[in-house]
């Protein structure tokens, strides 16, 4: 009833199959009636995510990952995906008890001084409970059983379905990447490590990272100190001052680049649910399920490229750098130029736009994210027949950044670029 998950590959297959059938019907309808394309996309997106919703659990996460990994999907899909954030199935009281006992060896009432059986938040593939121990408030994240096992069967179904949407594009490597990331995300031991790492290293004023309680954590239970604050939507609803919006956007922006350049790691999930807007202008970072490491050589080249882009260097030297980064394949100059101007340039123009001046006001550019997603979609369509595989690290960083820019736009915030450009220049000297 409320949260019965369809189990087994067969029943999942049926749900996906049913969705594909419905999509087939929609496509036929459009063919017959001519119909509004954007509206059809919206309808199809509804069908897909309704069926993913039926699958629940993993699928919500997969839907999010697909959105991140396949920005060529039409905006209607992406919008529908953002609605599925936090729609994780609930774990009832009996199950919470069971999971805690299995994972920590004792029942909740013995592991903690107090334990709220009702979850206060949804989290990646689980839910979060408030608890106390030795006078400290704790957040206990609990994972639904069997999630890890269902990744494989779910992904093979999604693969099957997505191939039809990607219209001949090679989605295998994207699916592979998503699958690997999902396995990482269900591993709370890894997340605890990442959380420790950022807590120790991300020394930025006003950034708060919770403390992990390792003796109360396992692969499927993660206990950290509890941070009190507003989630993204509640924060915006509280009609914060312009000053506060700007300060938070700046903090997110600066710490992203600080982590990229100084820690060679990024918190790569631009889901607004990962931020907590706390008292006194502090920002809580709370979900470390999606951390991406970046290698040194790549970072040097990436940085050099972006500095040159900001200086508007000539196309030929820019193209040479893209070749080194594995974003452009070496072939005749004419072909490379065409590929650069048609596929890559629209993208890098977009990414560098906020970085050009000393500051960038998202309030004055309220269509930035929309333009961005449209651009990516167009580029992906042009790239249609190309089998060239783009550098994953590169895509990942820029994808995340674009996600953050979309948040800044929602906040109507203005950011200063001075600190970040300093970081970039320092990196160059290294």
């Amino acid at each position: 009833m409320d949260n019965a998950l369809p189990t087994g590959k067969l029943s999942r297959g049926k749900v996906v199959g049913k969705a594909l059938l419905k999509i087939g019907a929609k496509k036929t309808k459009r063919f017959v009636t001519g119909g509004d394309k954007e509206q059809n996309h919206a309808e199809i997106a509804d069908i897909i995510f309704d069926s993913l919703g039926e699958l629940k659990g993993m699928s919500v996460k997969i839907a999010q990952q697909v959105a991140l990994g396949m920005p060529f999907l039409p905006p209607a899909y992406l919008e529908r995906i953002s609605k599925s954030f936090n729609a994780i199935p609930s774990i009832n009281k009996a199950l919470v008890r069971k999971i805690i006992k299995t994972e920590l060896g004792v029942y909740p009432q013995d592991a903690f001084d107090t334990f709220e059986m009702k979850a206060f938040a949804a989290a990646s593939l689980g839910q979060v409970h408030l608890a106390t121990k030795d006078g400290k408030q704790l957040a206990v994240k609990v994972q639904y059983p069997g999630i890890k096992k269902s990744i494989e069967s779910d992904m093979s179904l999604i693969h099957f379905g997505m191939k039809r949407f990607a219209k001949g594009q090679n989605v295998d490597h994207i699916i592979g990447e998503i699958e690997a990331r999902l396995y990482e995300e269900v591993d709370y031991v890894l997340e605890a490590k990442n959380c420790d790492f950022f807590r120790e290293k991300l020394q930025i004023n006003n950034i708060v990272i919770p403390e992990v309680y390792h003796d109360l954590s396992s692969e499927k239970v993660l206990t950290t100190s509890y941070l009190e604050g507003l989630d993204f939507d509640s924060y915006l609803l509280s009609s914060p001052s312009q000053e506060s919006r700007d300060a938070y956007a700046q903090l997110i922006f600066d710490s992203f680049f600080y982590a990229l350049y100084n820690l060679k790691s990024i918190h790569a999930d631009p889901n607004p649910g990962n931020f907590l807007f706390m008292q006194g202008g502090k920002l809580g970072l709370i979900d470390f399920g999606c951390v991406k490491k970046v290698d040194e050589d790549f970072l040097q080249m990436y940085n050099q490229l972006h500095l040159n882009l900001l200086e508007d260097n000539d196309h030929i030297s820019i193209i040479q750098q893209y070749i080194k980064l594995g974003m452009i394949e070496e072939e005749s100059e004419e072909k490379m130029l065409k590929f650069y101007t048609e596929v890559i340039k629209p993208l890098d123009t977009l990414y560098k736009e906020p970085l050009i001046g000393d500051n960038y006001n998202f309030k004055e550019n309220p269509d930035f994210a929309k333009r961005g997603f449209k651009m990516i979609f167009k580029v992906q369509q042009k790239q249609f027949h190309s089998v060239h595989k783009l550098n994953e690290q590169f895509l990942f960083i820029n994808r995340t950044l674009l996600g953050y820019y979309a948040l800044f736009e929602k906040m109507g915030a203005k950011i200063e670029t001075g600190y970040v450009k300093d970081l970039m220049r320092k990196q160059q000297i290294l």
Binding site: A4, L5, T7, K93, P145, G146
Partner: protein, 245 residues
């Protein structure tokens, strides 16, 4: 010297545990009551006094686990805030949790029940009084609180739930998934289904249908049958056994 009830209980538990250990080590057939007594530090007459046979010991074990499960549940402070489904799920999960360290032993029992004629299913039913009473109470409270409507066949539901529980144990015995999480999911999903049925009108619709057939078709043939009085009584008795266990 008079032995107190609690001392008696302690001895019983001690014997049970050493019996379980020995059966895990040697198998049910090769484990003797004599050796169990020795391991538990009691005399031979004492163990026979508690358990006249090895079979009796098995039943006592199951009853003991019911007792422990109910005691564990009673420790949950806010148990009254659990939904009926959550309460039933907690009962089953708690029993399985208690079985966990004796899993090898449970596998042997299950094998004797399901695959050889070593133990009769019917005998197991004699051990379920506390379990059924507990489920019955959960149901009563739920109905009284208006969480669910009084379902048809209300009085048979606790026994039905026991059958379901046996099925879960049989599944758990064969479960080779990590931390038996397949069983956890099986319980979660199947109880979700049962919960949906209890919250819907399906049971009463089914009983309407049943009554319709019974009244219009069965009653006639039964009346025919009833003219032969002896066999009608026999059927009634059989029917009663089926319905009331």
């Amino acid at each position: 010297m008079k032995i107190t009830q609690s001392a008696k209980e302690k001895t019983k538990i001690k014997i049970l545990q050493s019996a379980v250990d020995l059966i895990i080590e040697k198998g049910f057939d090769n484990a003797s009551l004599r050796e169990m007594a020795k391991n538990a530090g009691v005399s031979n007459p004492t163990i026979y006094n508690y358990f006249p046979s090895k079979e009796k010991l098995l039943y006592a074990y199951i009853e003991q686990k019911h007792k422990e499960a109910v005691a564990t549940i009673q420790e949950i402070e806010d148990f009254h805030t659990y939904t009926l489904r959550e309460q039933l799920q907690t009962l089953i999960e708690t029993e399985l949790e208690l079985y966990l360290e004796d899993r090898e032993f449970i596998i042997q029992i299950a094998d004797m029940v399901f695959h050889s004629s070593g133990l009769k299913m019917g005998k197991l039913y004699e051990t379920n009084a506390l379990f059924i009473e507990t489920v019955d109470e959960m149901l009563n409270i739920s109905i009284e609180a208006g969480e669910i409507q009084e379902p048809p066949f209300r009085e048979h539901l606790p026994k039905l739930f026991w059958d379901y529980y046996i099925m879960v144990v049989a599944y758990w015995v064969k479960d080779d998934s990590e931390m038996f999480e397949n069983t956890t999911q099986f319980i979660d999903h199947s109880l979700g289904l049962a919960d949906a049925v209890l919250h819907s009108d399906i049971l009463s619709k089914a009983s309407d249908l049943g009554m319709f057939f019974f009244k219009t078709h069965m009653l006639n043939s039964l009346q025919n049958f009833a003219s032969k009085k002896d066999s009608f009584d026999l059927i009634k008795r059989k029917l009663g056994e089926v319905l009331h266990g």
